[in-house]
Amino acid sequence: MSNYSLFGLVLVPLVGSLIVFAIPRANGLLAKQVALFFSLATLVYTVVLAIKFDDKGPRFQDTMSWTWVRSFGVHIAFGVDGIALVLVLMAVILVPTVILASWNSFDSREDAEEDSDVGRSVPTFFGLILLLEFFMVGVFTATDVFLFYVFFEAMLVPMYFIIGSFGGPRRQYAAMKFFLYSLVGGLLMLASVIGLYVSSGKSTFAFSELIGSVPSGTTQKLLFLGFFIAFAIKAPLVPFHTWLPDAGAEAPAGGAALLVGVLDKVGTFGFLRYCLPLFPGASRYFAPTILILSVVGILYAAFLAIGQRDMKRLVAYTSVAHFGFIGLGIFAFTTQGGTGAVLYMVNHGLSTGVLFIVVGLLVARGKSRQVSDYGGAAKVVPLLSGAFLLAGLSALALPGMSTFISEFLVLVGTFTRHKGLAVLATTGIILAALYVLILYQRTMQGTMNEKVRKFRDLNVRESFAVAPLIALIVFLGVYPKPITDMINPAVKYTLHDIHQTDPTPKYGTAAGGIK
């Protein structure tokens, strides 16, 4: 019994991208409109699926499976659990936002490099965005490990061109670095995928059948490391992170939002979906090391963010710190940590997405990424500075915003098992306040820099790009239940796969069942 709804979902952006690619270069406006239409269609489609999703239903829903390569058990198989669904939701919410925010970014050729031989074709850019959306939806919804690998690798191609063709002055370098890192990760993963097939002895790549099929021991540890390093490069965890600041800084703002907001989540998603259930013994074996790396990453990257002078690099480093939190939540092996980590992925996508977009809007006005080229802008562009502050506050996980809930869940979920690490990670909230508020003070407050005097405030289109994300961040801070209800069962399955249960409170809950 197959359900083709997810297959349909994957096709929508693919078809959209093909149409947009076919639009002639001179007709940029049409390309944008078509791209926006398809991205909104994908969004509506996903929302319908999310509404139909049954929290109490089976682990994977809307499943379908076609045999692709029969002799090796490769399938074109799709299905979503709560984790995949909320990440798809996050991705398809970001795409139309990015399209709106990038609307005029490539209209004029003035900002193009003099020596640039790469044309900045408007249809190409928006086609690439939709193609990327196709791969992003695919990578989260694939339930066949081989198919996942194909999407995982293919995702790089549109992103490579988005950075390399539409990026900043050092885009070639950044794109190359992004590519090399990903290549190394991809090769490791390829080896592990082969190893997985061989050692499981199941003759299939279907994810559900592979759970718990790899015998524990050295093989499992090696396979785990292959997957883990590939994902840790993607996510990225310290010390695999140095490609991200370059890629994030050089990518166009919309591309950076998708890169850090969604693409990198495939890494953390991979930890949870593949590393833990497929290699439970190895996951437990390596967990302490990974937890320490995560905490180091939280603090180390936060210090680096404080020290950045380039706004987009700064935002990229904040994300590295945030990925530390996500890693912490996943490898704490508790319900709160796991759910918190998934919620963190969603919130971070929205929050960093909006932060990159807002920074991009500022950079588009000032034609510089250097913090020192700004100052006192709040007086000239109150809306932009308000959006900037709100995006920053969500990055520092202000209670009342959705990011707080995920960060606190991660911390509390870690604390029940590893008190020292959780306490260390908690000090990261001070550093987060520092990097956000220093950035805000230097760009928006204080004495006005002459260059900002002629800045134009957000127009209607830009407001429409930014406002829904901020509204969503606030809404989910007040009422995250719809999302957590979707995530909870999937996290429980995962913990079950690795044979972990939550530690019970030492003194038990109070008599009388007081909540």
Partner: protein, 638 residues
């Protein structure tokens, strides 16, 4: 005591948070269209909330069981971590709600006049209403996680309002400093909440408190750990040692902000947190000891720093630091003294708001200048302001019958009654503080209102408009009569007993209360006399004298607390940051780049081959897949 569910009007308690929150959002989002009426809405909201709070108060008062829970919805449900959005209406929260909405209303009305000519008036009222919403959430939340949202919300409002004149670098820096200091405290609050969940599986007041007291099973160690972490949070929010340095700098905000947020309400949230967590602190002598030590240190610290300031608002700010030290001392003395701490908090709310709003009226008259060395002789031109300032002044230094006398006297008495050496130390510290308070407040009074006129040439002081003077006079009246209402008949203490336990029994006193009161008054008069000799009888220089004693210099430089933070925290932090940036660029990244260059022969060659290399990437990926299949095939046939 059992907790009952909210009924009738009590179920609408969420409106206390929702109305100002919505109002804040509207005022901030409406744009310039709202500039003409925004302040009216902004000021009307707290008044309406005050009326609603009164109705609520009588509804609570009318029932026997005064601990009421109003559940709204499930907020964060994840496994055994179940946190709701719900409110607790009880005597303690009602006292705060009335203080916040009552004093808040008066200060909002005052601000209509104070901000009349400010182009950012709409934004100001938006932030101000946001503050009210967050503060009410803080005191009404029925669990620690929701309290945290209010806690950080008031911090945000405070940040926005300290930095209200954001084009002044000093204001922007002060705002940031306040937020960071509060974040240090937040680490403590976060860890406290995590401890609660790890040990009790709950973060609600009811769920946590059930593990303490006579029937509790929590160990002393857990009680101490949670108590100390809560205390760290309280110190950040309330400007207590060692996180006190942000509060004086917070005076960069408009004066109504200093009155409402940085004197009457928000900075007392730490006291609320400790009083609210009374069951935890009652079970931990260790945590209480640290609370009283911090209270005693801070109250003296504030006094000493207050003596050397020339900026009137900074004098008042240090007095706030010091007075909250008294409150910490009281709540740290534990069972039976909580209510006295809260009483002093209420009295302080009235008299400090009076003082700040009077100072605001003076600033208004003196072209926004606040240096007392350029004041002098103002009593004759600003009689109403002088009168209200005097009420606040007499209340803070503790002259009977003003409110501060009754409440501070009780704290000094309770400190002595603690008994033993520690009781004597704390009592003497509190007594010394009373004398110093009289000294620096008298100094401020004399420098501002008496002596020769040291005004700058362009200044023409005049009395403030009625919309400003009337609220101040009402607060001044409250500083006067508040004491009776608060102390006599034990009304408030009795009222608070369900929340914080019954008040102290009349028992053995270390020093007889009457004798102690007389001693206190004598000490206060000594402080007054000292200040009168130095600042009343001699000429006050219009510029700050140089070559002063070590003590004066230390006082002016807040006993080197800022210098300490700068040397020990900020500078090394900056070095660390720079070092790490260098390491990341050269070390981690350099290694990778070197490797890449090595693989490619040289970076130049890498550049040349890259485009062709990458364009065939799709192909190489396909190749990878083919290789995969080939390997599988080989494995299969082997």
């Amino acid at each position: 005591m059992t907790v009952v569910d909210a009924t009738g009007i009590q179920s609408a308690v969420w409106l206390l948070v929702a109305i100002p929150a919505v109002s804040a959002a509207v005022l901030l989002l409406v744009g310039k269209r709202g500039d003409r009426w925004a302040h009216l809405i902004g000021a009307l909201v707290p008044v309406a909330l005050f009326v609603f709070s009164l109705i609520l108060f009588f509804s609570v008062k009318g029932q026997h069981n005064r601990e009421i829970n109003s559940h709204l919805f499930s907020w964060v449900p994840v496994g055994s971590f179940q946190v709701d959005v719900g409110f607790r209406i009880d005597p303690l929260s009602m006292v705060f709600v009335l203080l916040i909405t009552g004093v808040g209303s008066l200060i909002h009305i005052y601000a209509v006049g104070y901000m009349a000519h400010d182009p950012g008036r709409r934004r100001f009222f938006g932030y101000f209403n946001l503050f009210v919403a967050a503060m009410l959430l803080l005191v009404l939340a029925n669990n620690y996680l929701l309290l945290y949202v209010g806690w950080e919300g008031v911090g945000l409002a405070s940040y926005l309002l300290i930095g209200f004149y954001y084009d002044r670098p000093s204001a922007a820096t002060a705002a940031k400093k306040a937020f960071i200091a509060n974040r240090v405290g937040d680490v403590g609050l976060s860890i406290a909440i995590m401890l609660m969940f790890a040990y009790f599986g709950s973060t609600s007041f009811a769920g946590v408190f059930a593990h303490f007291g006579a029937d509790g099973n929590a160990s002393k160690g857990v009680a101490a750990a949670i108590g100390l972490m809560l205390l760290l949070g309280a110190c950040g929010k309330s400007g207590q040692f060692p996180l006190q340095t942000w509060l004086p700098d917070a005076m960069e905000g408009p004066t109504p902000v200093s009155a409402l947020i940085h004197a009457a309400t928000m900075v007392t949230a730490g006291v609320y947190l400790i009083a609210r967590s009374a069951p935890i602190f009652n079970d931990s002598q260790a945590a209480r000891t640290v609370v009283v030590i911090i209270g005693a240190i801070t109250l003296l610290y504030g006094c000493v720093c207050g003596c050397g300031q020339d900026d009137l608002k900074r004098v008042l700010a240090y007095s706030t630091v010091s007075q909250i030290g008294y409150m910490f001392l009281a709540v740290g003395l534990g069972s039976g003294v909580y209510a006295i701490g809260i009483l002093h908090l209420l009295a302080h709310g009235f008299f400090k708001a009076t003082l700040f709003l009077s100072a605001g009226a003076i600033m208004h008259a003196m072209n926004d200048r606040i240096n007392m060395r350029r004041f002098g002789g103002l009593y004759s031109v600003m009689k109403l302001t002088f009168f209200s300032f005097c009420c606040g002044y007499l209340a803070i230094i503790g002259i009977p019958p003003f409110s501060g006398f009754w409440t501070k006297d009780k704290i000094i008495e309770a400190a002595f009654d603690k008994g033993g050496t520690s009781g004597w130390i704390l009592g003497l510290a509190a007594l010394l503080g009373a004398g110093l308070t009289a000294f620096y407040m008298t100094r401020a009074l004399l420098m501002t209102f008496f002596g020769e006129r040291r005004w700058e040439e362009d200044v023409h002081p005049h009395e403030a408009p009625k919309i400003m003077t009337v609220p101040v006079l009402i607060l001044a009246a409250a500083s006067l009569v508040g004491g009776y209402l608060l102390i006599f008949g034990g009304g408030v203490q009795h009222w608070l007993s369900p929340s914080v336990g019954p008040s102290i029994e009349e028992g053995v006193h270390t020093v007889s209360p009457w004798v102690l009161s007389v001693i206190t008054i004598v000490v206060v008069l000594l402080g007054f006399g000292g200040a009168y000799v130095v600042f009343g009888q001699r000429r006050v220089p219009a510029t700050q004298p140089v070559g002063v004693s070590f003590v004066t210099t230390a006082s002016r430089r807040n006993i080197y607390a800022d210098a300490f933070n700068e040397t020990v925290l900020m500078r090394p932090g900056q070095w660390l940051t720079r070092g790490l940036v260098f390491f990341d660029n050269m070390g981690v990244d350099g290694a990778v780049n070197g490797l890449a260059a090595g693989l490619g022969g040289s970076s130049g060659r890498l550049r040349r081959i890259q485009s062709g290399f990458v364009r065939s990437y799709a192909l190489s990926m396909l190749g990878g897949s083919v290789a995969l299949l080939a390997v599988l095939l080989a494995v299969r046939f082997s």
